[in-house]
Subunit: 440 residues, 2 copies
């Protein structure tokens, strides 16, 4: 794997550009500067698509009609596939060429200017008519613990004096998650049964979880491609990232407490993990790259393999919100209530550092692998990424506009996570939503 230098801004970031797709004009999530990739399920099966406003570009149809003539055969095959794994497996320069070709096709003064209306209607169709599925067949899903305020808050519940474990600032802690139970935004989540100890020192009982929680995380989609035994240097790790999304790492806290010693979380997490369906590419986020968390002089020195130096890709600055609505709130016509607002500025490790660490012992990554960042919480109230933190371990219920209270999630509750990037002089880039409703 060779590094392909991070590009300067190019024409796809031009804030003045507009699409001929009417719904894209003024779109807060999916203007033509975004062009996130996803997979639509329709009567023709699964097909690769790109979101544009409230519509999607059917990339298989665009290929069939020869509307992406600048692309090589390998890229065209990837766009005709049933998932994004092949697209993720392209070289970064190829993915950039795909992005440029789609921009040209959708741009108001671009290639499609003279296309007949029936062709336009064939290749661009309303999102509301389409079902979005998981964008890739995930070979391996890894969940990290890079949100330092979350690690501190959770640590405080167990060790008020020294919340962070000694390894935290040295090693990007992570563990392997379950691929089979990854689902796309919109799937209902069942509270899982499991072994639960209801009083200290008591015997476990087989019960439905009473402490179902969400965890707000950044999803990182991996291009991979390193051979087993070959680490990816942190300077090249940006090329191993195809793009980003939102991830809800549903967690059954009562099952977790009992099962997790000594090998980590298992059934408390693997009943379902929800991912937003659109992959916002690294290239769309170029204007929003920022500096990671500042290390203090008393913080440990970084191992060289985690120290990017000048060429290291930095952190995309993504802002998140989490809204909750209950059945009663919806019945009363109350809008979803914002329970958290945070950003990637709370990540102790950058995505590139996670890639470098994951592979430093030789572990191979494959196109379509998925990383979760770990729960993202800020340092203050209103910025917490889980109910465990918001309710202080279940001790301080959250009061909702309906007068209801919540320590953990209850049947009928719906969680909506959103994310976006913004910066003066650039169009806002959104991630769409990552939603799930608790049933049963």
């Amino acid at each position: 794997m060779t590094s392909e230098t991070n590009p300067a801004l190019d024409f796809t970031h031009d804030a003045a550009a507009e699409s001929w797709v009417a719904s894209a004009q003024g779109s807060v999530d999916f203007p033509i500067q975004n062009l996130p990739m996803g997979v639509i399920e329709c009567d023709r099966g699964c097909l690769v698509a790109c979101a544009i406003g409230e519509d999607f570009l059917d990339l298989a149809a665009a290929c069939d009609d020869g509307l992406l003539p600048s692309l090589d055969e390998e890229s065209l095959r990837a766009l005709r596939a049933v998932d994004l794994n092949q697209w993720m497996g392209l070289r970064r320069s190829q993915r950039r060429a795909v992005r440029a070709a789609i921009f040209e096709l959708l741009c108001a003064d671009g290639r499609a200017r003279d296309l007949p209306d029936e062709v336009r209607r064939k290749i661009v169709r309303p999102l509301k008519s389409a079902g979005l599925v998981l964008p890739a067949a995930v070979g391996d899903y890894t969940d990290f613990y890079a949100g330092i305020h979350h690690a501190t808050n959770v640590g405080k519940l167990f060790r008020p004096e020294s919340p962070l474990l000694p390894n935290y600032k040295h090693v990007p802690v992570g563990y392997h998650g379950r691929s089979s139970s990854l689902v796309a935004s919109g799937c209902d989540v069942q509270r899982p049964f499991g072994q639960i100890v209801t009083e200290p020192g008591g015997l476990p009982r087989h019960l439905k979880s009473r402490r179902l929680d969400f965890e707000l995380e950044l999803a990182v989609w991996i291009t991979g491609g390193n051979a087993l035994g070959t680490p990816i240097p942190v300077q090249e790790a940006g090329d191993a990232i195809a793009g980003y999304g939102l991830l809800n790492d549903w967690s059954a806290r009562d099952i977790q407490t009992w099962e997790y010693q000594p090998l980590g979380p298992f059934l408390s997490k693997n009943f379902m993990t929800t991912v937003s369906p659109w992959v916002v590419s690294s290239d769309a986020l170029t204007p929003f790259v920022t500096h990671p968390l500042v290390r203090m002089p008393e913080d440990p020195e970084l191992q060289p393999y985690l120290h990017g130096g000048d060429g290291a890709p930095e952190l995309p600055d993504i802002r998140f919100e989490v809204h909750l609505s209950t059945e009663s709130m919806r019945a009363e016509g109350l809008p979803p209530y914002r329970i958290s607002r945070s950003s990637t500025a709370s990540l102790w490790w950058t995505p590139a550092q996670l890639v470098a660490h994951h592979t430093v012992g030789g572990c191979n990554l494959r196109p379509g692998d998925l990383f979760g960042s770990g729960t993202i919480s800020g340092a203050s109230p209103g910025t917490l990424g889980s109910l465990l933190e918001i309710s202080d371990g279940g001790r301080s219920p959250l009061t909702l506009p309906s007068g209801e209270t919540r320590t953990f999630l209850e049947a009928g509750d719906e969680l909506v996570m959103t994310g976006h990037c913004e910066r003066p002089g650039f169009r806002r880039i959104g991630f769409g939503a990552c939603t799930g409703r608790v049933v049963g």
Copy 2:
């Protein structure tokens, strides 16, 4: 998923039966009563095969020649595939029919009695000419901790007074492993680099592991097929198991010690996991089913979802051996030295209980998923399944016939795991070998 009753012994278990394949007569691992399934890589690509003596049956060729006429279309498609996932996805009755049809074809007085020699030579070829690869594309790999003596021995290193954690006898502890770095027997293993603390309380350094270990485990190949949200009852869990193999969960103990809190092992395990290439089917093991470990009156009562009752599949009685040879030993012509001998009798949880537990919260299993049992150690010296135990945490080196000593593995060391079942009145069934040599 409905349970298909565990069969009585049938003609495929008849100890008097012999194959017309000469190398199968007297074979200690692969007599006609075994018929393990695997995947061969040859100049025609990957193809499904069945081991018979020192040869293999090319199942694609057998299908092409119409030599398995009793099988339905779905089963024939599975045998023409490039991996065993489709075979694992068949119903148990279909897998049994495949086994019966192969037996008929290879039996001395069966269907192939009158086949011309050139056809026999086409469908049955020497194993030594073939490369064996991982038998399935593993969607998810889960590693358990079901060897109770291992859990006790490792616990003693940290907590001499109460080695087993309070949850151990209640809940089948497990964690998700890495699928991408699973390899078939025979691959060399590199000692991984990672963060290692070399003195108590010291800072981590980026070093090559000095405490590379093996772990002897039973591999359990899963048929899966439960929908997300739908547990598999323990009484039906036997049908969710396609068969068994051997697994070496290579472990870097020094990396593990530093990284594993609080979320479990990660880079200390994911650099490589080696699996034996042959899947010995549950149906081949019917004669060797035995009773699991006896619970004592003081042991906790089993949760109903783990309590099989009368219909529950029990434990296959599999005996294991682990041999070690060093470069010097091989140079001196010394044979590999046996460092461990144990059996499935040390498993606190049966494979069916692992299936029931894995799915009780709704997690879905897929055909081709893989479970590791956890390290299998007996209760006495000579029966320990890892060097961590054999060397008592590195304090008591093992002396080899060459006069060399080992606490952990060194460059040039080769590990060979074998397994077999035996019982008077039945032919011995072997698992082949699970080998790996340490390089660098």
